[in-house]
Symmetry: C5
Subunit: 311 residues, 5 copies
């Protein structure tokens, strides 16, 4: 392994019999990308695709190499969803990857290479490509995992009483994230499907089994995405019912209070009138009889609301 | 039949002319799985697929055997939905199944084997594979049945008065279950479809008729799933209308109480005023006339609400 | 035509040159079904399909006969939706149909046969099969018709004032019905499509034109089903808006009553106070001036609500 | 051109070298349809399709002629949506059209024929067929136009204050219309697509370009239909939000009125009490101080609601 | 480059060895379009398509040229969405474009041509066609950008307090825009897809790579459109929840005010009664005790609402 700032070193390193994997971090360094492009004789359109970060995942077959574009997804330290553009060129004895930023998804592969563990060191460049793609797809699983946790957090919040007002915005945000995840995964699924079926001398027969397995994985990811998508869309409905339920509760309190006290207030109002002749007013226990009546009305109301299950 | 803890016994047993069915329970026992894998010469990727429990249903054709992955679904004693990972290898004269846990779905097949009943004992390994898959699909029907009962319970609860608050969570839960069921069934449908069309020396011509029948069954299951899916999605709308209907009822009670007693209270308030000169107060029957008026207003209101069908 | 309880009679009858149509009612009579199965040499899987009433519509081609499964739909006397399982075997000179119950859908065909009317008597067994399928599809039209009437009844009820509470259940019920109808019709569409394209010596070239026509009909039915499906799904939204409209009306009544009488009550309350010095109380016409003011407030409110179109 | 009540005249007219176009209005005149059917040797199924008005659009190829079914759509004078069944037979030197009623869609073609204008007179029967279909598709554009106006009218009504109650029924009606329009257009699209690809001696090579153009048009119509469909489905949501907005406004009026006057009424109630010793009552300016307090509360409330943007 | 009002000049200019690009602005100038049509020998249907502005995007292959129709989208100065019809004819050594209005989308290409920069001047007519289409698709990205900003503005408004009433109309308007954008983009996607696969002598092998790249771009645009579409549809739900949340808040204010003051008013009403014998009235500190009680009730209510998180 060679950690070098100078591309030319990498090329010298290449003279040996081994498979070379060059990983370029940062897409602003266009001169370096041009040097590599010239060295490996890459088509100008490829060089353009390497630096246009909103290029969707795809695979282009050229005579001497395969060109792949895909996305690394992760949540950064601020919990923001990040969509990193990665390109890969697979030649007969080299793999070049271009990363937008210094990601850590490939670290596992790097480690296995250094430890000379497993097939990865003995096998060809095509297996290295598989290993790198596999690392990316495995990473998707963990992204999906994070997403599923976010959904559960939101679901719990929906039933929490001190729910904040902008939960709809959180849901809308989640919708955007899942749509962007889908947008990274679905085309890659097609890419891997085509990779499985491709008839290229660059890809060994034995590697096809591994790519088929990779294809199984990406299908699984995309099925999970579809399920979480339905869940997120369902959140809005859940929220709506929660709001309505709360309004219902508010209305019940109002209705109970008003229905009990408005008639009682009316009764009190009756005997607050100043008519010259209101016989009840002169009864000795009139006041207490009225209290009794009021308590009766009160209890009747309570019973009524109890029976209606509003209390 | 041989109940053995030692895999080697099983292999000895195999020397005979019969078809061998080995069923391995528990996927943590990797050494055993490796022994079997070596014995039957299974590809390393298969050994990996056997133990990765979130592998989706699939079929892989190899030269000497077919490899199938599928899911057993059931509700455990706590009513939780369980998704059990099962793998199957079909060779010329053996079937090996790997189960995540000690399920009872295969019990029927086991019994028929012991009782030497039906085609199952005389036919080949391919028929045994069919019988096992058939048991799995039959089991799906009963899972769907349970699901349909759950839906009906929820539907009834929606119109129940003391509905609990978190019914939306139950519905969301049901959505997740049906999505997970679909996820187990849809790929298996493809697997069986491919099994029907496969041109392999491992599968006898006569067995194809049975697989076609199996395919009919799994399509039927997946159609039921789609129907229940629509039903579950409809539940949320039903719940929403129920909430709204209840709020409507609450509002009606409030409106009726307030509309009747607020004007009456106003009338009482009028004659509670202390103006020096309010002629009505001095009429002898003023109080009774007012009562009459109040009763008229009361009845008028009742009539109005009756005509509006609010009572 | 022969109405016999004894299957053997039917077989004797068959010795003649004619086309035989045997119709078996009731699927519990397994011995009879077995006799017929043996007589016509039917595959055991067919005999199983004949009696499993939840088998979906399908067509199976065998060397000497075609096997079809389809559904008869009708509403019974209680207005319940009934889904009847029917199987049909078409041989070179016979048609056997197995009905779950004693339906009357085939009566028209039976009559035309007895009256020796039209092509039906002179043509072969394949034309008889067409005539029976045609009767089934024609029956679908009438089922759809009934469904459309049910939808219209519900639509009218939605705007009716004394709407019953469980209309959402009626709608959910209708959803289930249409989903079950679709489930009967969609696979049959495929069956007929395949029947049109089948290259079998059992089906005469001239009959193909009739089957193509039948295919047109079933597509028409399934399009109607899709339209009614959208209508039914729309019912829930309609109901939701109706509820909301009603709540709106209730709220308006409350708001109008409260907004008019609460301020008036306040005004009366002012002059019910017992302050030693309230100058207005001593004015001679204070009471009448207040009445005037109250009427002004009342009219102002009325005008305000009128302008807001709430009255 | 020949306007005749007697079909036989039409046939004599045919003896000439020209292309004959016969247009039959009204499908109840079965004897005439039979005469034409016999004259042109039409299959009995075609004769049936001509008179079954709910037959969906289709194309049937026969040896000597093509048979097309399609729909003319228009709004009649009462603004009702009308779906007219039309059949067309294209032979080598004749076109026969069967219309359900006396429509005016073909008038333009008729006129161009009489004026001997454009290709239409010199070209063959296939071009005449194209011209007639083109007139029908052009007519679809105007139907769609009318529909789009209806949608706009409804959209405006939604925000109108004196909205009528049954606007949901209008929307449901519109849904039905658009579904029926789709049902006429989608199958015709397939018909024209097949017409473009058909390899028939009846259709000249040069006419294919025109049919391709026609196909473009019908795709355009069907895309418009899909857009208006989404618009109509959106209307219901719009209506729902309008209702909710209105209810919100109603609630605000109630809340403002009640929140302002209920506390004030309470304050008045306090000093309406008859306790022997209420010190405030004896203060000389007690009454005026209370008024001041009430006005303060009133203004405070107003300010509060102003800040909440409820006023 | 030649800026001429006279078409004939353009043709003279053509005599040279170069590739000619003629751009005609305004589709009302039919005589000029006819002159060009005759000069390049264009089919009459093409001339018709050039001027029918609602023609959907398409590609027609003729022997000597390709004919393309597409749409330029932009927002005009008033912020209105404009859909401009453009046609293009690609011959062996010429490109003719017909624009509805004087757009500026092609300006970049024009500039590069004048500056003789890049491939564009040396390459053939097919590359020029690519460059023009590329400019159009690039323009779509900026239209989408504008749309996405509009969505964000609406999202923010939803949570703004002084939201205007007709935001649903804005959303409906946005729906229409995105549907019209889709309608321009989706068929162009197919056009470019076909362009990529076309086997025409007009298109150089090397240009195919560029067209494939263009196809990637248009797929990207159409995926963005689908995402924004979901966002817009989500807006309505968000708005609905915002309305409901607001109503909830209104209801809470009402409920709190009413629940607190109605019981207090009742208490005051009690001691406003005129019974001859109400013992409490004669207690010396009766009035103050009552005040204490009222404050207790008041605080109790506040505590209750606080605990319910309504305050």
């Amino acid at each position: 392994r060679l950690d070098s700032e100078d591309i030319q070193d990498a090329f010298k390193f290449e003279e040996t019999d081994n498979i070379t994997w060059s990983n370029i971090n940062g897409l602003n360094n266009t001169p370096e990308i041009e040097i590599i492009g010239d060295h490996y004789n890459l088509h100008p359109l490829i060089q353009e695709d390497i630096v246009t970060t909103n290029q969707r995942p795809k695979i282009d077959e050229y005579e001497d190499y395969l060109f792949l574009v895909f996305k690394m997804l992760h949540y950064n330290e601020d919990g923001e969803f990040v969509n990193e553009h990665v390109s890969m060129v697979l030649g007969s004895d080299y793999v070049v990857t271009f990363q937008e930023a210094d990601g850590d998804v490939f670290d596992g592969v790097r480690e296995r290479l250094q430890n000379a563990k497993g097939r990865i060191r003995s096998a060809g460049a095509d297996y290295l490509m598989f290993a790198l793609l596999d690392a990316v797809v495995d990473n998707y699983f963990s992204v999906i995992e994070t997403l599923s946790e976010k959904i559960e957090v939101l679901e719990d919040q929906l039933f929490d009483d001190n729910i904040k007002d902008d939960i709809t915005q959180d849901i809308q945000e989640l919708k955007k994230e899942i749509l962007r995840i889908r947008r990274a995964i679905l085309p890659l699924r097609e890419v891997i499907n085509r990779l499985e079926k491709i008839d290229s001398k660059l890809i060994d027969e034995r590697t096809h089994n591994y790519i088929r397995d990779l294809y199984d994985h990406i299908i699984q990811v995309s099925e999970s995405v579809d399920i979480y998508r339905e869940m997120i869309w369902g959140l809005m409905d859940m929220y709506m019912t929660t709001i309505s339920n709360k309004m219902n509760e508010v209305m019940k309190v109002l209705t109970i209070m008003a229905s009990i006290f408005i008639p009682l207030t009316f009764m009190a109002g009756i005997y607050g009138m100043n008519f010259d002749y209101i016989p009840e007013l002169q009864y000795k226990y009139g006041y207490f009889v009225l209290w009794g009546l009021m308590i009766l009305v009160f209890l009747g109301m309570l019973y009524y609301f109890k029976r209606k299950k509003w209390l």
